[in-house]
Each structure stands twice: as structure tokens, then as C-alpha cells.
């Protein structure tokens, strides 16, 4: 299964670049960092959609979600290049107008609370919520952390795309999160830290999270702009605007030859 997840990661990374380039720009950096997490959620067969729930709290990561949902058959891939265009359901921040999407977001920090409400109302199903590290600066995340522990939401998984960057720089410079794992443990959660680009680790963490009696936090260490050398670790690629043809071709070449 890991091989097929890796090959999907390879092809969707190219599709993401194509989508952002053709549509004139978008949130590519975080989409490339969170892509493998989304692939594992939708293609590892741990969860069933519809049935189980997925909430994208960091709504700007929607380009990655769109490619994954399209691959999973929710809508044809022809739609992808209409991303953030007039009259397209593929909004610049994710919306429930898109088949397969359960929560519209964009304003950070709300999704984990929404996912907690889902987990409380539908205890027989798993609820996976994808948040970002920068998003943890929002106070509401910590309100949700208290709430999920109080109500023992063992079916809730907060999957954190921890790529260390946010719109204006490094998370550690803008507002350090400190010892994030320790914080979640103190709040009463089960915490695992993994390599967010290693499929065996992601799948194992998601499987283990299913058996927990406590809310689950998976801190996935990821790389902003993963797979494109000049974008990696560079926060200026949080939101890509008007990528030049030469940079596009260079990125494409790198992704095609990426192992």
C-alpha cells in the first residue's frame, strides 16, 4: 500500500503545481507540505468517506485537498484548473460547495472545535481534523483542546501539518509554539510525533489513533514546499502568485524526477 501512496504523492504533487500555475497562483507551500497527510487519510483505507468525517481547519490548504478528492473520485480532475476562479466551486479557501467537503473554512482556529462537535454528535465515527502549526496561535484551538479532553473524544484526531512556517516567516519567529507535544499531553490528549512525509509512519499513527480513549494529536513534521528545491523552507511560497514560466518548468522538472 505504501508504494501506491508514494506514487500517488508523486503524481498529485505534479497536479498541484499544474493547478496553481494554470490558475495564476495559490497556496502551494502548505499544500505541498500537507499533501501526504491528506493522501494517507483518504487512501490508506483506515477511514470510510462518507461516513467518517474529515475537517480541513486550515482552509487555505485546499489545493492539496482538491487534488486528493478528485483522485478519490468526488469530482473530475478537469475542474482543478478552475481553482479560485469566478463561478468555480473550488474556492480559494475550502467550501462545502465542493463534493466531499464537510466544512467550509478559511478563518483559522475554528475547525478543531467544529470537528469536536462532530465527534461528540457521532461517536461511532472517526473525525480527522487537519490543522497547521501557525494556526495553533489562535486561542480557539486551546479552547477546543480543553473541550475534547473533557468530553473524552477518543474518535477525534488532530493531524497537525507542522511545516514550521506561516505567511510572514518562521513560526518560531512570529510566535513560538513552545513544546507543542507537551502542551497537548498536559491538556489530556494522546500525542504522537511523526515524519509527515513517511507513509508507514503516517498510516501507523492514524491506525493507533483509532484505538485511543483520549483525543488524539498527531504532530506531523513536514517540509514547506516539499519536492521543489527552491520553494522548500521558503515562506515566500506560502502563497504563490504569478510563477514565471522558467520557475514553473524548473519545478516541474524537479517533481518529475523526484523519488
Amino acid at each position: 500500500m505504501e508504494t501506491s501512496l508514494s506514487s500517488l504523492s508523486h503524481s498529485l504533487r505534479l497536479q498541484l503545481l499544474e493547478m496553481i500555475y494554470q490558475s495564476g497562483g495559490g497556496h502551494l507551500g502548505g499544500s505541498l507540505s500537507s499533501l501526504d497527510l491528506l493522501i494517507a487519510v483518504y487512501f490508506s483505507k483506515i477511514f470510510r468517506f462518507p461516513g467518517d468525517h474529515f475537517v480541513l481547519s486550515a482552509g487555505h490548504l485546499c489545493p492539496a485537498l482538491y487534488t486528493v478528492l478528485s483522485s478519490a473520485g468526488f469530482f473530475p480532475s478537469d475542474f482543478l484548473t478552475s481553482y479560485s476562479s469566478f463561478n468555480s466551486p473550488l474556492q480559494g479557501h475550502v467550501s462545502t460547495d465542493v463534493p466531499g467537503v464537510e466544512y467550509s473554512s478559511g478563518s483559522l482556529g475554528q475547525g478543531l472545535s467544529f470537528a469536536s462537535g462532530l465527534a461528540l454528535g457521532d461517536r461511532s465515527r472517526s473525525v480527522v481534523c487537519l490543522t497547521s502549526d501557525g494556526e495553533h496561535q489562535e486561542g480557539q484551538i486551546w479552547e477546543a483542546a480543553m473541550f475534547a479532553a473533557k468530553y473524552k473524544l477518543g474518535n477525534l484526531i488532530n493531524l497537525i501539518d507542522y511545516n514550521h512556517y506561516q505567511i510572514d516567516g518562521a513560526t518560531d519567529d512570529i510566535m513560538p509554539l513552545g513544546r507543542l507535544a507537551a502542551k497537548y499531553i498536559q491538556f489530556g490528549w494522546t500525542v504522537t510525533t511523526i515524519d509527515g512525509h513517511n507513509f508507514p509512519q503516517i498510516v501507523k499513527a492514524l491506525k493507533n489513533a483509532q484505538k485511543s480513549d483520549f483525543p488524539n494529536c498527531i504532530i506531523a513534521k513536514t517540509i514547506l514546499g516539499k519536492g521543489i528545491s527552491f520553494m522548500q523552507y521558503d515562506y515566500h511560497y506560502h502563497d504563490v502568485k504569478n510563477l514565471s514560466e522558467s520557475l514553473y518548468l524548473r519545478a516541474k522538472n524537479e517533481l518529475e524526477n523526484f523519488k
Binding site: S104, S113, S116, Q140, A144
Partner: protein
């Protein structure tokens, strides 16, 4: 020393007022007072007995909202979020998406004040079946002071797409509004107040979304308002004018038909609201009238760009902020000229 003097003056005022009240037989003559928020708590308790999908999401104000009985009888359907209104609003939305009808209950100075952007995204944009209950609205919360006198809630909620806004005039109408919204899948904000209020709603009338009720018909002046401040007007006798009093409890959607019909007859409008002028009923009505072919005389009594303050008797605040009987008389004089 000066504060002591003013305190004394206030006590004297209170005394005078209570004498005046007893002389006229209370604010509304022969009218029973009943708590609007208790009516909310009691109604929800009653509805929950037969509707198992009815949930409460609370932010540490269950006793103030008379939800203790609900919490005791239906502990699994009473979700306590603590003093965290942002989380509460999104939790309510998530719960609603699993098929529940959720009443998100707090004071309006916290919800929808603190969590407006959360209501916008998690509830309105996501079409979540959540009813927001905001108690202690307006200057009527009296001694709690400026931070707890929510005067902007109608403006905040009216501006949101997918949001309906209702404000019951008394305990009876509260019961009808809560029952109606519990059967509707749409988001709604229901504005409640703290003190017991006169029972003026006609028990035989239904509450219909988008409909206003005439509390009294007349031909000289249309008085528009919502909440118990409007019932004060029922007793208001000023010269021999015949007032037509319209209870605009459905603030969004508004009832243009009833309002325009009345204004066409009277040619004069007085809007009275325990809220800021900005974004309230007055502006909604002004916009409606300017777009119509009617050109009535118009007056709007509301709090004008100021914060409230504490008072033992909220009527002192009404006098101070331009909503008292003297202000009403002045406004009517101008309109009737």
C-alpha cells in the same frame, strides 16, 4: 465627595419614580410581569421532552438562562463549554451537522459579541442548524454596566447572510419564537433581556417568521420597536394622539408589508430601540421607507454612539440615553407638527 452626592440624587430619583409608578398602577396598567429568559428555559425543557435531537451548548450561564432543569433532566444533551464562546459556537455547528438542533446559549455581550467571526464562518457560511440565544441585551441589564449592556447585537447579526434575527416582546412571544425556530433548520439569533417584562403578546396569535403584529391600531403615528421597551408605549398617553404600535419581533426577515401599510396610513414613524442607532431596526426601516414611494416624517430613538453604564433602575438609563418618556414626547411633538 461628588459621587456620593450624585448617588443620593439617584436614590431620590428612584423614589420619585416608584411613587409615580404606584400612582399609575405600574409601567403597564394591570399587566402581569414574567421573565423572558425563564420562558426560554422552560420552553426548551418542554420541547426537549418530545424532541430528542434538541441540544444545548452553554458557556457557563445555565442558571441565568434557566437551563438548570434541562441540564439535570437531559445531561447528555446539555454540553457545557465553559467560558469559551468561540469554541462553543463551532462545537454547536459541528453537533448540528450530525442532525441535532442546537441552542447556543449565553449573554449577547459574549455570544454573538465575542464569537461573531466564528458564527459567520462555522454557523452561517456552513448552514448549521444553530439557534443563538443572547440574553441580557440592551440597557435593560441595568446594574451590570457598559460591558454587559449589549447594544450592537442586532447590527452584528442582521449583517450576516443566512442569519435570521428575532426579539420577543414578552415571555409569551418568547415561547412561540423558541417553538417556531426549534422546527426550522436555519440559523437564528434570538435576543432576550434580563428583567421580567409585561405580558402584552396576544396568546391567540401565532409567531410567524417575517411577520409583525399590531399591538394597537391607530391613525396618527406608527411606532415601531422590538422587545419590552415597546410595551412601555402601550400605556403612553400623550395628548389625544392615536398611536399604531407595531411589534417588529421578526427583525430579519422584516415585515415590509405591515410596516408600509401602517406608515401609508399615518405618514409618521417613530422607531424606538434599546440598541445603538447603527445597524438596528431604525436604519432597516429608514432604508425600507426611502426605497418606497412614501415620504413619512421619521424619528429614531436609540442609543447614539455611546457606552452604557450601571443603574439600579434601567429607566434611569432610558432617560439618560434619550429613550425616556421626555425624549419620546419631544420626538412626538416634532413629528405631529
Amino acid at each position: 465627595m461628588s459621587w456620593k452626592i450624585s448617588n443620593k440624587l439617584q436614590i431620590n430619583n428612584l423614589k420619585l419614580r416608584s411613587e409615580a409608578k404606584s400612582a399609575s398602577g405600574g409601567i403597564i396598567e394591570n399587566c402581569k410581569l414574567k421573565s423572558i429568559r425563564q420562558s426560554f428555559g422552560d420552553t426548551l425543557y418542554r420541547l426537549a421532552k418530545t424532541n430528542p435531537s434538541l441540544y444545548v451548548v452553554d458557556a457557563d450561564l445555565k442558571s441565568s438562562l434557566f437551563l438548570t432543569k434541562f441540564a439535570q433532566k437531559f445531561p447528555k444533551r446539555f454540553i457545557e463549554c465553559g467560558v469559551a464562546e468561540n469554541n462553543a459556537a463551532s462545537v454547536a455547528a459541528g453537533l448540528a451537522k450530525t442532525g441535532k438542533t442546537v441552542f447556543l446559549s449565553s449573554f449577547s455581550c459574549f455570544s454573538p459579541a465575542i464569537n461573531w467571526a466564528v458564527i459567520k464562518q462555522s454557523i452561517c457560511y456552513n448552514h448549521a442548524n444553530v439557534k443563538i440565544i443572547g440574553s441580557h441585551s440592551g440597557l435593560m441589564s441595568g446594574d451590570l454596566g457598559a460591558t454587559h449592556q449589549m447594544l450592537e447585537d442586532v447590527a452584528l447579526m442582521r449583517s450576516l447572510p443566512n442569519m435570521q434575527v428575532f426579539a420577543p416582546i414578552d415571555a409569551l412571544e418568547t415561547e412561540k419564537i423558541i417553538t417556531t425556530v426549534s422546527r426550522s433548520p436555519l440559523p437564528a439569533y434570538i435576543r432576550l433581556v434580563r428583567p421580567p417584562s409585561p405580558l402584552v403578546f396576544d396568546r391567540k396569535l401565532p409567531f410567524t417568521i417575517g411577520k409583525s403584529h399590531l399591538l394597537k391600531s391607530g391613525s396618527d403615528l406608527t411606532v415601531l420597536g422590538y422587545g419590552p421597551i415597546l410595551s412601555n408605549f402601550l400605556n403612553f398617553k400623550f395628548l389625544n394622539y392615536k398611536f399604531e404600535i407595531v411589534n417588529c419581533s421578526s427583525l430579519k426577515p422584516l415585515d415590509p408589508e405591515t410596516i408600509l401599510k401602517s406608515v401609508k396610513k399615518t405618514g409618521r414613524v417613530l422607531v424606538l430601540e434599546d440598541h445603538q442607532k447603527s445597524g438596528g431596526l431604525g436604519e432597516a426601516v429608514a432604508s425600507l421607507l426611502l426605497s418606497s414611494d412614501l415620504h413619512p416624517k421619521f424619528a429614531h430613538l436609540a442609543v447614539d454612539n455611546r457606552f452604557g453604564q450601571s443603574a439600579k433602575d434601567y429607566n434611569d438609563l432610558y432617560d439618560h440615553y434619550g429613550l425616556g418618556s421626555a425624549d419620546i414626547q419631544t420626538a412626538i411633538n416634532k413629528l405631529m407638527k
